[in-house]
Subunit: 339 residues, 2 copies
Amino acid sequence: MKITIKDVAIEAKVAPSTVSRVINGKDQLAEETKEKVLRAIEKLDYRPNAIARSLVNKKRNMLGVVMPNEAQDFLSHHFFLEAMKGMSAFAQEKKYYITYAFSKDEISEERYVRELCDSSMVDGIFLLRAKDEDKVIEYLKKISFPFVIIGRPQNTEDVLWVDNDNFKATYNLTEKVINKGAKKIAFLGARPHWNVTKDRFNGFKISCDINGLSVDENLVLYGEDFSEEIGYELTEKLLAKKINIQAIITTDDLLAIGVLKKLKELCMKNIIVTGFNNIPLAPYQSPSLTSVDIRARDLGYVATELLINSLEGIDNINNHKIIDCRLIERNSLDFEVKK
Amino acid sequence: MKITIKDVAIEAKVAPSTVSRVINGKDQLAEETKEKVLRAIEKLDYRPNAIARSLVNKKRNMLGVVMPNEAQDFLSHHFFLEAMKGMSAFAQEKKYYITYAFSKDEISEERYVRELCDSSMVDGIFLLRAKDEDKVIEYLKKISFPFVIIGRPQNTEDVLWVDNDNFKATYNLTEKVINKGAKKIAFLGARPHWNVTKDRFNGFKISCDINGLSVDENLVLYGEDFSEEIGYELTEKLLAKKINIQAIITTDDLLAIGVLKKLKELCMKNIIVTGFNNIPLAPYQSPSLTSVDIRARDLGYVATELLINSLEGIDNINNHKIIDCRLIERNSLDFEVKK
DNA sequence: TTGTATGCGTTATCAG
DNA sequence: CTGATAACGCATACAA
C-alpha cells in the first residue's frame, strides 16, 4: 500500500492539512511541528501523489510535444533530439515533465494535440514547426491554451515563439564568403514559400548588395524539397549556365551534400560550398562541409523557458526570442583567388 | 470553465454516474439514455478529465523513459529517436502517454526514476541500457515497479526486456563474409566487457569455426570505446602485424568508419569492412558501409508492448523478446577473390 | 436500469 | 499556529 499524507499525519500526530503545509513550505508553522512532520515523512519515506495534487491545483506540471512527421526523416533526428534535450533540461529545472508523441500525419497530429489539451493532461504545448494557416495553432488560440512554437509563425501576434535569425546568419555567412574573394555566388534553396527560405535568401541578397556584388538571378535556384538528389540536380542546372561560379550557398546541408557530390564528379575543386543546419554528416563530407549550427538545443531550452514563464505568470520581456546561429567553418570554405 | 461530467449529467437529465457508465462503455444501459448522454457529450464537447480519472483508477496511462547520458553523443541520436518512435507508436495504440527526460549523469538518472515512480507519475518505466549491478534496476525491483529494459540485463530473472540477437546477427554476417571468399578475417570491437560485445564476438567466432576457419587471436582487437579514432588506430595496429587481411568485421559503425579512413589513406581496396548499427552515416561512406540494422524502432515498439501487456494483466508469453537484425549490404562488402 | 453516496490524495478555507 | 471540512472530477458499491 502506498503511503499517503494521512499516514504521515498519524505518525506525526498532526492533521493532514498540517502535513500539507509543511510539504508546501507554508509559513506560520511552529518549528517544532515542522520537525515532527519532517521526521515522520522521512521515517515513512513519504512522497506526495502528483495526481491528487494536480487535481486540486488544476496544474499538471506537464508539457506536451508532438513531433511532426518530418521527424520521420532520419536526417532531421539531430534537430529534434537536440531540441528535446533542451526542453528537457529547462523543464527539469522547473520541475516540469514533458510528454511526447510522434504523429503519423497531420490528422493524427491535430487529434493528439486536442486530446492533450482537452483531457487536461498538460499545461502547455510545444509546436515544432510553423506552418501557415495552421489548424493546430488556430485551435490552441481559440481555446486559449498556452503553447510555444519553435520557428517563426505566420502571425506572431499573441504567440510565444523562438527561432534563429536566419537572415542574419545568412548575411554573415555570405559576407564571409565574399571576403574569401568569391564574386560569382550562387544560391540554392528549397521550399521557396517557407519563411526560413525567404529569410535566408534575403540575408544572402542584402549581404551581396551591401558588399557591392549584384545578385545574378540566374544563379538563384530553388528545388522542391531538401535532399541530396535535388542539390545534385540543381548543381547540374547551375553549371549548364556556363557561368564561372566561385561559391554555392545552400539553405540546407542535404542540398550542399548533393552539390559536393556533383562537383566532385566533375573534379571541380575551387568552389566554396556552404550548408545549413550542421547535420552530423557535415564534418564527414570531403571536403568537410561548412555549415551553420542552428543550436537546436538552445531553441528547445529557450522555448521551454518562454512557455513555463508564461504558465507561472512570470513576465516574458518579449513574446519571442532569437537564438543566434553559429557558423561552423570547415574545408568547403577554402578558396584560392585566381589572379 | 472546463465542463465536467456533472454538466453533461444536467444537460442529459441523468445522474453523473450514468454519464460515467456511458463513457466507460458499461453494459446494462438503456439504449435511449445512452444516446441521450452521447448527444449531451457531443453538444457540450465534453472530454473526461484524465487526472481525476487517474486518481480514482490509480492508473496513469503514462510511461516514463529516461534517456541515458550516452544519448548526448549525437551519433546515438538515431538509435534513441528511433526507439522513442517505436515506443510512441505502440503507446498511442493503447492510449498511453510517455514522458521523457534526459539525464545529465547517473545520479540524476536515478533521482529522476525515483521521482517518477514515487510520485505515481507513471505506471511503468523504460530503461534504455543494461548495466551490470544497476542501481536503478535494483530499486525498481525492490519496490516492484513495472519496467522494461531495452537491452539484455545481467540478470534476466523477473524482468521484461527486449534485445537483438547479437550472436545470430554476427554469425550470419560472418558467414556472408566467408562466403564472399575471405579467409583472413579480423574482428575489431570496443568495450569488451559489455554483453553486446561478447555476443558479437561469439557469433563471429562460432561462425568461423563452423565454416572451417580458425580465428586468429592476433586479428582480434579491442578498443576502449566506440569512435572513429579508435577504429583508425586499431586498424594501424592490425596492419602492423603484416598479415594479409581480407576482411575486417567491427562491432560498430564508428569503428568501421575509422577503419575505412585508414584503408583509404593506404589505398588498400580489396578488403571487406562491416559495421554495426547502421547509423545514418553508413550509406555516405566510400565505399558505402555494410552494416547491421538493429531496428531500434521495433525494439521500442516491442518493449512498449511487453510493458503495457504486463500492466494490463495480459500475459506475455515470454518475459523478453528478440528482434532480428537486418543485414544492410553495401559496397564495403565487395570482394574479389584473388587467384 | 439508474441514482445516491462515498472515496481516491491533496490543498484551501474557515474556524478555533 | 493548527485542525476539521469541503472540494477537485470521476468511478464504483450499494440502494432503489
